[in-house]
Subunit: 338 residues, 3 copies
């Protein structure tokens, strides 16, 4: 798919007051919207990075619709929803509908009629969550938990929260490098969009041309491409190493894993080129010895596990905010109380 097709500004996810009522994509959201998510997520973390439970979804029903399996992401949403006191139902969506010849639309309407308040949707097709929010169940809060190669917006927001909490610098002053398999990553595009919106002026993408998507030059302002590690990571504040998506690579874009490690693996020597307090991030699951060396993954500068905890807080924030936006849209509350 050509990237440009995905850049349509989307107001589907905002209610009439301009607040989130779904959470589908970073693109098109204002700096204020993103900052609201970050502030709300931060309110669910205490000074020791422990999560704080809040019964904001008491009595409400969250359904996880994972058309594409992802135990890890599903677990984080389930944990987040339970910390908000929601009822959580994991729907075996692959088995529940198409096997009986029902249309997807009918299946979703049925689930909505079971009094679902929120759908967490993961699908291998780009735009699936957007389609459901716009055309099928606009009155259910739709949360995009990853669609195709396009967006993984909660991952982007947990990365932004981690950057904000761990660097303690404004986004405007940061240099951020994203390394690796840009082409097959749901994460890269969402992260670039979030960084741009939050004001980052120096976004560096480091990858071989074979791992860049078609139309890369449309990534937009403040983004620079590097084919070499050494120039790319120099003086960075943040380095994000992406997972090599072996299971998605359908052409011989990589000579081998060891070849990739030799060219782009993040090791101590390369990290030493960045600023001394540069933080190291990775969306997981890691391929140790491919995109990242264990000495870095487990080193002092790594904030990889903090990302995971921040991910629960961000998912709590997005669930609670979108739900309030739905209630506001439907005239059931006057204002967002978060």
């Amino acid at each position: 798919m050509h990237i440009a097709a995905l850049h349509q500004p989307s107001q589907v996810q905002l209610n009439q007051q301009g607040n989130l009522k779904h959470f589908l994509t970073i693109e098109g959201l204002s700096k204020e919207s993103l900052t609201k998510i970050l502030d709300t997520a931060q309110s669910f973390l205490d000074e020791n990075n422990n999560l704080i439970n809040r019964p904001l979804l008491e009595g409400l029903t969250v359904m996880n619709l994972f058309f594409e399996n992802s135990t890890r992401t599903r677990t984080t949403f389930e944990a987040a929803a339970k910390r908000l006191s929601a009822n959580v139902l994991n729907i075996d969506i692959a088995r529940s509908s198409t096997s009986k010849g029902e249309t997807l639309r009918d299946t979703l309407w049925n689930l909505e009629a079971m009094a679902a308040d929120i759908f967490v949707v993961r699908h291998s097709s780009s735009g699936a969550a957007h389609f459901i929010a716009k055309d099928v169940c606009p009155n259910v809060a739709i949360i995009n938990a990853g669609d195709g190669r396009h967006a993984h917006p909660t991952q982007a927001m947990l990365d932004m929260l981690t950057i904000r909490r761990e660097t303690k610098k404004p986004f405007e002053q940061l240099s951020v490098a994203i390394i690796g398999d840009i082409k097959h990553s749901r994460v890269a595009r969402s992260n670039v969009a979030a960084l741009q919106t939050l004001g980052c002026k120096d976004i560096r993408v480091i990858a071989p041309n074979t791992l860049l998507p078609v139309g890369f030059n449309e990534y937009g302002e403040h983004v620079r491409l590097f084919n070499q590690m050494n120039g790319g990571v120099t003086d960075c504040d943040v380095i994000i190493a992406l997972r090599i998506q072996n299971e998605r690579i359908d052409s011989p874009a990589l000579a081998s894993q060891s070849e990739f490690y030799k060219m782009y693996g993040l090791n101590k020597e390369r990290l030493a080129l960045a600023k001394p307090d540069c933080i190291v991030m990775h969306p997981g699951p890691m391929n140790r010895g491919v995109e990242i060396d264990s000495s870095v993954a487990d080193g002092d500068q790594s904030v990889i596990l903090k990302q995971v905890t921040n991910g629960i807080a961000v998912r709590m924030a997005v669930l609670a905010l979108a739900m309030q936006g739905q209630l506001q849209e439907q005239g059931l509350i006057e204002a967002i109380s978060l």
Copy 2:
């Protein structure tokens, strides 16, 4: 199986005071019992058709035992039980016992000893839930979530609730048509029994002879058979289109799906023969273009999605009532408080 064998009046599901302690089948229940279920279910719905949560099963444990998979029905029971604040455990019953050579009876006794209060049972054999209630675990409230071709009593009760709420007429004055695959449907028999008990005087079954069960003439009073749509639906208040159970048809009873649609598909022209305010129902999942046309399924007279919401309310009612009946039987409460 011959139908007559299933008409044994069953008092197994009532306690000594005559209140439900299991919910196994419509047959043998009085009009008062059915009305009690409908009234209780209605108390869980507000005027906007939104569900009201009630912590009636707080601290109690509901186990879903689905010997036969049905994601949809299981989800509705799980949602209903959680709205009553129960602890819900989905037991992988197919894997948990027979694979280790244990008898089913021992497996059930073990689950009961884990302090289960309610079993929701789905099984492909007619009478399975009845057998468990009578012979294995009489002190656990057993809820039949569908057994064989025999009964699907919560589906029948949600249909009755929908008819009562949507037609706003007494059952005595209604003409109700049930169309399609009577032979393989769990729904048809339960619905006919419920309609008869609630006083309906005009029940019409519309189907080709190949889709009627052996012994159809034993369906009882007020039931008329039609082989043609046009006579059958004329002046009806309620039309229930059944799903064509492709996966159950083991003989060439149907020439083809398109042939069925031509003869029995519910379309606008046929619906126009019914009363102008006739409601259209379907138990789901729908085969659009086979038993029902999309213009009818999505039309103004369709209450198909309201059935789904009513289904949660009915399952809440049945869970709560049977539990109270067990507690009354065991001397732990004096009277049913619902």
Copy 3:
């Protein structure tokens, strides 16, 4: 594996104050520790053997990590955790990590970072839970739900609770026989260790030599071996019949099931040799007509289903105690309040 290798005293499971912070194995725990578990479990049962819910894990997160499937054991832990008001997440651990090339250590760290407080671990390798507690996630309370042929410590404790409640005699005065497949049983070793620690002076193991583990003579004091039933069960207070682990037997150790029943099956005649008030136990699932006759399994002296209920109480106790031990270790509470 040689038995001696497993007898290393393990202090990994105790915090600095000597209280449980994990629950990994019976071996190395004092009589006081085991009695504390039994007393706590007993506090969750009323005089009618009904379970009492206690919100001791309110707001905390329990993750079930069953590397080896066991629906029964998982269900008991899930039921126990929910009775303590925990949030429970069943992790599809087999699918979540290795399929994507992540190391097990990284997967566990990720789950910990999702703010897990307790891991319930079942694994086919001896020592897996111990390894996680010692080397991977020491700050998560690790509960061993069965590992390899080694330990099944919650089963042992539920057996001890059942013996204490049902015989009403001190352990010092009891004669206890364990019959059957000692070699492949997780239960036998844990039970012998628990009985020894609690002061039992007469532990009898009844089995053919082919079903004894290598190094059996290292089972320790107060343990006697019998190859015949008649001498072994005479004047016993407690008989524990073990399941014949057909699925684990990899050599022709048994001529046949019927041969085993003839030699070691517990029937009425053999039970009559024990004391008149001897209780009969079995860890389940039973092979009726192999290790135990139905007349005994369902007879007056059987306490097999009480074991199951006691198992919930014991798992509640172990979850709550280990959690408090973690909080004490981390300085968050001063003393164990149970």
